[in-house]
C-alpha cells in the first residue's frame, strides 16, 4: 500500500486520535505496566489505574494463542464504553491497544435495540392475537354448550310436560267418570271431590312451573279465559286450605260478592292459583289462634281479591323482595320454596292486574289484587271457552282412538260411549290407515306422542291416503309450535293434555252427528 503524503498522514493521525481516543498500555513479561499512551480517563479509569482493563484483557486471552495478535472488534466495557481491543505481543513489552467504538457503534446499538424491541412487541402482539382467538373459540364453544343445554332443557320440559299431563288426565278423567256414580254428600264422594280438586291444583301448579321454566315469566297469550262462577272458585280454594287452617286452629273465612249478574271472564285456573297461593301463605305465616280472611268482589269491570291475616308480618325492607323468585328468608324462620308470591305477581301481571301489599311486623299482612275484565275478542266475539275445540261436522259416530297409553284409551272409550259414540281403540299407529279404511270413522282422535312414530305423521298419512273424516290430535306439548304443526299435518283440532274430561264430553256431545240425535229423539 502506498504511504500517505506526510502532511495528509499527520492530519489523519490527528483526526483518528481525536475520534478513536487510542489508549496503548505496554506491559513487560512480569506483567508490570511500563508505559501508558493516551487518556485512560476517557474510558473511565482514574489516573493510570488500568489494572481492571489489563485483567479483562488477560481474561479475554484465555483460550487464545498467547504469541499471536488478538483482536476483538466490539467489546462492551463495564463502564459502558464499546471498544475495539488489540493484544499485540512484542519485545520487550506486549501492548494492549484500545480504541473507542462508540462513534461507529452508537447508532448500530440504537438500531439493534429498536429492532429487538419491535420484534419483541411483534411476538407479544401475535401472542395476544392468538390469545384473543383462543378466547373467541372458547366463547363460541361455551355458546354452543349453552345452546345445547337450553335445547336439552326444552326437551326435558317437553318430556316433563307430557309425563305430568298424561297421568293428570287419567286422575281427573276417572274421578269425573266416578263422580255421578257415588251418592251425594257421602264420605266417598267428598274424598273423590278432594282428589279432583287436588288434581286441578296440581295441574295448575305444574303448568305454572313449566311456564316459568320455559320463559321465566307467564305469557299473557297463554291465558285461557272463560266465564266461571265465583262460588265455585271460593268452594274449591276453601276446601283445599281449610284443613291446613283447622290444623293450626285458625279462623278462616273465604267469601265472594258480586253486584252484577254478568259472569266474570278470566282464566279460572290462574285465578285459582293466585288465590290459593295468597291463602296458603297467609295460613302458613299466621300463628295458631289467628285469623285469615279472603274476599272476592266482582262489579262487572274489575275483580278484586283481598287476603288479610293476623300473622307475623313482613318487615318493610323485605316487602318488595317477597315478590321476587326464591325469596326464602323474607319472612324469617319459616320454610317455603319462595316461589308462591313471585308466581302470583307474574300471573297478576299477565292478566293486566295490580297487586299491593301492606304489612306490619307482629300485626299482620293484607294483600290486594285488582284484575280488570279483559276486553272482548275481535268483532265483539266472546273469547272461546277452549281454543282448539272447533265445531266439526262428523259424518258418523264411529271414532278411532289412536293412543299407546291404555289408561287414556280406556278413559276416552268410556267417555265417548257415554256421549253416544262408537269408539274403537288402536294402540299401534302402524295400523292406523288400515283401520281407518276398514272402519271409515267420522272422527279419528290421535295422540301426538306415540313413541317412535309421531301422531302428526299418522295424521298426514291418513290425509295423503284420502281420508276426509275429522281428525283431532292431542298432546302434552301444548305449545303453539305443536299446534301449528298439527294444522299443517291436516288435523282439524288440537287438544292439550290433560284433557278436562267434563268439557271434552260436553264438546263431543255437541258434535254428535244429527242422524244419531234424530235417532235418539225418535227413540
Amino acid at each position: 500500500m502506498r504511504r500517505y503524503p506526510d502532511k495528509v498522514s499527520t492530519i489523519l493521525q490527528r483526526y483518528l486520535i481525536e475520534k478513536a481516543h487510542p489508549l496503548v498500555i505496554s506491559v513487560d513479561r512480569t506483567g508490570r505496566v511500563r508505559e501508558i499512551q493516551g487518556d485512560p480517563a476517557h474510558y473511565g479509569y482514574r489516573g493510570n489505574e488500568v489494572e481492571p482493563l489489563l485483567r479483562l484483557c488477560a481474561d479475554m486471552r484465555v483460550g487464545a494463542e498467547s504469541d499471536r495478535h488478538a483482536f476483538w472488534p466490539l467489546v462492551h466495557l463495564a463502564q459502558g464504553h464499546h471498544v475495539a481491543l488489540h493484544w499485540l505481543p512484542d519485545e520487550p513489552c506486549d501492548h494492549v491497544v484500545i480504541t473507542d467504538s462508540d462513534l461507529c457503534n452508537a447508532e448500530l446499538a440504537e438500531r439493534q435495540q429498536t429492532a429487538n424491541e419491535l420484534a419483541l412487541a411483534g411476538i407479544e402482539k401475535s401472542r395476544t392475537i392468538k390469545e384473543l382467538k383462543r378466547v373467541r373459540l372458547e366463547l363460541e364453544e361455551r355458546e354452543r354448550a349453552l345452546a345445547e343445554t337450553q335445547a336439552f332443557q326444552r326437551r326435558l320440559i317437553d318430556t316433563l310436560a307430557h309425563d305430568l299431563r298424561t297421568p293428570l288426565t287419567s286422575i281427573g278423567g276417572y274421578a269425573a267418570l266416578l263422580h255421578p256414580h257415588l251418592k251425594e254428600n257421602t264420605p266417598l264422594q267428598r274424598a273423590l271431590g278432594a282428589i279432583q280438586r287436588n288434581a286441578v291444583y296440581l295441574k295448575a301448579l305444574a303448568e305454572n312451573l313449566l311456564e316459568l321454566a320455559r320463559s321465566g315469566h307467564v305469557e299473557a297469550n297463554a291465558l285461557q279465559r272463560r266465564e266461571f262462577a265465583l262460588d265455585e272458585l271460593v268452594a274449591d280454594v276453601d276446601a283445599i286450605v281449610r284443613p291446613m287452617a283447622d290444623g293450626k286452629d285458625l279462623a278462616l273465612e273465604v267469601a265472594a260478592h258480586a253486584n252484577t249478574s254478568a259472569a266474570p271472564c278470566f282464566d279460572p285456573v290462574k285465578l285459582h292459583q293466585v288465590l290459593l297461593n295468597l291463602l296458603s301463605n297467609a295460613v302458613r305465616y299466621t300463628p295458631a289462634g289467628g285469623r285469615v280472611e279472603a274476599r272476592i268482589e266482582w262489579d262487572g269491570q274489575e275483580l278484586r281479591m283481598t287476603v288479610a291475616d293476623t300473622g307475623i308480618g313482613i318487615a318493610p325492607e323485605y316487602q318488595q323482595r317477597v315478590f321476587e323468585p326464591l325469596n326464602r328468608g323474607a319472612q324469617q324462620g319459616k320454610e317455603g320454596a319462595g316461589l308462591g308470591l313471585s308466581i302470583v305477581r307474574q300471573l297478576v301481571d299477565s292478566m293486566g292486574g295490580r297487586i299491593a301489599l301492606e304489612s306490619a311486623v307482629g300485626v299482620g299482612t293484607r294483600v290486594e289484587v285488582r284484575l280488570p275484565q279483559a276486553p272482548a275478542g275481535p268483532a265483539g266475539e266472546p273469547v272461546p271457552a277452549v281454543p282448539g275445540e272447533p265445531e266439526l261436522k262428523l259424518a258418523n259416530r264411529r271414532v278411532l282412538i289412536v293412543d299407546d297409553d291404555p289408561d287414556i284409551c280406556e278413559l276416552l272409550l268410556w267417555s265417548l260411549r257415554d256421549a253416544g259414540y262408537e269408539p274403537e281403540i288402536l294402540h299401534d299407529p302402524a295400523h292406523a290407515l288400515e283401520r281407518v279404511r276398514a272402519l271409515d270413522p267420522g272422527l279419528a282422535i290421535i295422540d301426538v306422542d306415540l313413541g317412535l312414530r309421531s301422531g302428526l305423521a299418522v295424521t298426514q298419512e291418513l290425509r295423503l291416503a284420502g281420508y276426509h273424516g275429522a281428525v283431532v290430535v292431542f298432546s302434552g306439548a301444548a305449545d303453539h309450535r305443536t299446534r301449528r304443526a298439527a294444522e299443517r299435518a291436516g288435523a282439524d283440532g288440537f287438544l292439550a293434555k290433560p284433557l278436562e274430561m267434563g268439557r271434552f264430553v260436553d264438546w263431543m256431545k255437541r258434535l254428535l252427528p244429527a242422524d244419531r240425535q234424530t235417532l235418539e229423539d225418535a227413540e
Binding site: L56, D59, M60, V62, G63, A64, E65, W72, P73, L74, V75, H76, H82, S101, N105, L108, A109, Q112, Q113, N116, E117, A119, L120, I123, R127
Partner: protein
Amino acid sequence: MTERARKICLLGDFAVGKTSLVSRFVNSTFSEKYLTTVGVKVDSKRVELAGGDAVKLVVWDLAGKAELDSLNRSYIRGAHGLMLVADGTRGASLRAALYLWMQAQKQLAGVPVVMLVNKLDLIAQWEVSTDDIARLQQSLPTWRTSAKAGDGVEEAFAELARRTAELPR
C-alpha cells in the same frame, strides 16, 4: 489448590436473558429493563469444584442472534464450553439455540455444552412443553432457569464449570 481459567460463551436468540443470567451468576443482581447487548461483554467468576479445586469461568455474553454471524464466530474461537440459552415463553428461541449449537459445532467440536431454558418465573406463558424439556435432557444437560428468581442459574454454571475443568487444555 490449583485454579484453571475456562472460557465459556453464551449463545442464544435476542432477549432470551443471557445478560441477565450472567448478571445473576456474577453479581447476584437482576434488572427488568431490557438492554440489547452489542458485541460482547466479558465477566469472570471463580467457581469452587468438588475436591477443593476451583476454576475461573470467563463468561462471554454474546449479542443475541438466531444465527452465528462472523463477529460471534470470532468471539467463540477458543471457547472451552458453550451455554445455550432459550426463552421458555418463545418456542422459536429454543429452535434458534439448537441451530446456533449446530453452527458452533463446526468450530468447537466436542466442547461441553449445557442448555438453559430461561424465564421459569413466567412458566404460565411457556410455549416450551414439559415433553420438549424431557426430550432435550436426553441429548443435553438441560436446566430450567430464572434469572429473575435465580432458579437453576448457579447449578447450570457450576455444571459447565465442572465439565470444562475436566478438559485437558
